[in-house]
Symmetry: C2
Amino acid sequence: MSKTLKGNMLIAQGGGPTAVINCSLAGAVKEAKEYANIERIYGAVNGVNGIVNENIVDLSGETEGNMEQICRSPASALLSTRDKPDEEYCGKIFKVLKAHNIRFFFYIGGNDSSDTLRIVKEFADKEDYDIITVHIPKTVDNDLVLNDHTPGYPSAARFVAEAFVGLDLDNRSLPGVYIAVIMGRHAGFLTAASALAGRYPDDGPHLIYLPERPFSESDFVKDVKEIYNRYGRCVVAVSEGAQDKHGTPIAAKLAEEVEKDPHGNIQLSGSGSLADALSGHIKENTDIGRVRADTFGYLQRSFRMCASPVDRREAYDVGQKAVYYAADKNQSGSVTINRAGSYAAEYKLVQLEAVAGKTKVMPDEFINDKGNGITGEFVKYLRPLLGKDFVSGAARIRAEKIKKKL
Amino acid sequence: MSKTLKGNMLIAQGGGPTAVINCSLAGAVKEAKEYANIERIYGAVNGVNGIVNENIVDLSGETEGNMEQICRSPASALLSTRDKPDEEYCGKIFKVLKAHNIRFFFYIGGNDSSDTLRIVKEFADKEDYDIITVHIPKTVDNDLVLNDHTPGYPSAARFVAEAFVGLDLDNRSLPGVYIAVIMGRHAGFLTAASALAGRYPDDGPHLIYLPERPFSESDFVKDVKEIYNRYGRCVVAVSEGAQDKHGTPIAAKLAEEVEKDPHGNIQLSGSGSLADALSGHIKENTDIGRVRADTFGYLQRSFRMCASPVDRREAYDVGQKAVYYAADKNQSGSVTINRAGSYAAEYKLVQLEAVAGKTKVMPDEFINDKGNGITGEFVKYLRPLLGKDFVSGAARIRAEKIKKKL
């Protein structure tokens, strides 16, 4: 392919929202304006669904002011979709791209998005249609391989950490057992972020259960009792994807009714049933009076105040880099974030197929031996991603007790 | 009582945490240092429970730096209690106060706290023991009478409004029905705050159900269908205290299992059962595929990032004012916040019995005729309390659609 590839660009957003996915959109649109070989800058409404339905807008005339505001808003400004294109669907996408002379195609999303781009590119290659397809990573789950971390994760992690700062103080002032269920079907990164909340050694969360380690109901009760006996209270973080040693999700075992999505996956988010089942299990198996549970649900992926400044900048960067690789270097692939120094990010373009369809989980060195907490290595990993203005825990009254008189 | 009343001061925090309750503590401690007639500044650990157990600390030596940090932390730095003292309990409190020569007693809490102070004062009067008791208001529910609003409410309201900004964008990008259950057993102020999230006319929440109006399951289904047909999606805010026309909580009607607290009240917080029951009801009675529900739970009262600057300042002010009334004016009572101008706050001291045991609910002019939303009057009321940095809603892509080619 010559360096003179010229034509229109199309960008789309897919999957679940994050706090910074629009920064990637803004970064890509800004960068695209720098290249003479990018003619029109189009955006697909509702991700790939908008492509097959030719529901496409022309972003060329968006003002900088509006794009700056959009950059500060969570969720997909171009709207999203849960469609996971198969071969036939990708064929339809290709037809539309060709009809609109799209030569640069960008999809912001998880590993499914990368796979879509790979298949679309295959269709184009078969017909000798020159096109560059670049995957721009995003996911709150942080489960993309070949990435140190993924845009969207640091902000969701910050929400979780911020939430636990307050929830732990709440539990400290009115003691009992408190359980929070956090997003993450296969990867525990988001749940693990709760660990950053603590400052004092007895600050919560005191127990953290991840999908990477088998969850045992009896060990859970034992762990909670032990912490409760030590501190008179216990704060617990549990991944929605926690599963037993046979791989059966606890949500399916403890909760009576579960809903399945079209892919046959149990519905984990948008329901409080796992949290309620876990608190019910503690109530039944201990004599602890006050047991409460919350499910963070959709709050954690869309809370704008918790957007990490580091995440925002990197999300913008990967958007810019994607267009640079495509328009300047004429390279297809997936933009990845690598860690260089403490802390700095570097970006590399990797093959689409290297990212597609794979899931990264928490490495062993991030999880403690008992499988009910995390290590200092994880804290070292996450801390710089939350932004300099994040502060673990809270100050305490340091005053001494006075002598009793009665 | 002469103006020379002199002795020690005791301050305690009670009930559920707020994001700014420690500002009131900091304000009171700071002010107390100005008065020669206040000798030692004591704090009770775990509210009134700490008083009867003589679990008291000497705050006189707390550094300004630490108090500033504590001021920025949610939940009660002196820890809290759910104890609601009866006559006998108040008698015990009085004994401890007398033993430690407490002449100025401050309790930061809801209307129960005001009642405790009233009874303690009666014990003192009977024994001709000179003591000033001042109630410092706080509650996320905003349900104290004679107050324009209560410290703690604006910050919790800001959490709710911020949350709905993100949740509505999330729902807009992946449409369906989304229901969030918000704290408030009798008063709907906190749920109503969700209305501040919207910017565009079709922004959510589209429906708001408050405890002040009877909740009908059939009207609920009808309302949701109507909005869904209009916008292809529907975002709903429901008070945990929503009740039917007979006063039966919906949580008790729809959810199968409910827990009761020692006072016989149904446990509303710390469980996702109402939200799940409401989403189940929509699933059963409509053919809408994607129905999700979250319960904000304890997050809303302890999230430090959402502390409203106005709330922070006023919470500090009421702490200072309480000590001023007590030490300078030798007056007992409850400090109240009044609205003067748009927007300014004024403080007045009212009789303890005027606030004790009463509950304020949303006035009629804040609720729409259908009882499924709020009015512009409420927006006018709440807006200045959230702080100048709060922004409703989010920007949208304003680009035009391109012509279809296939």
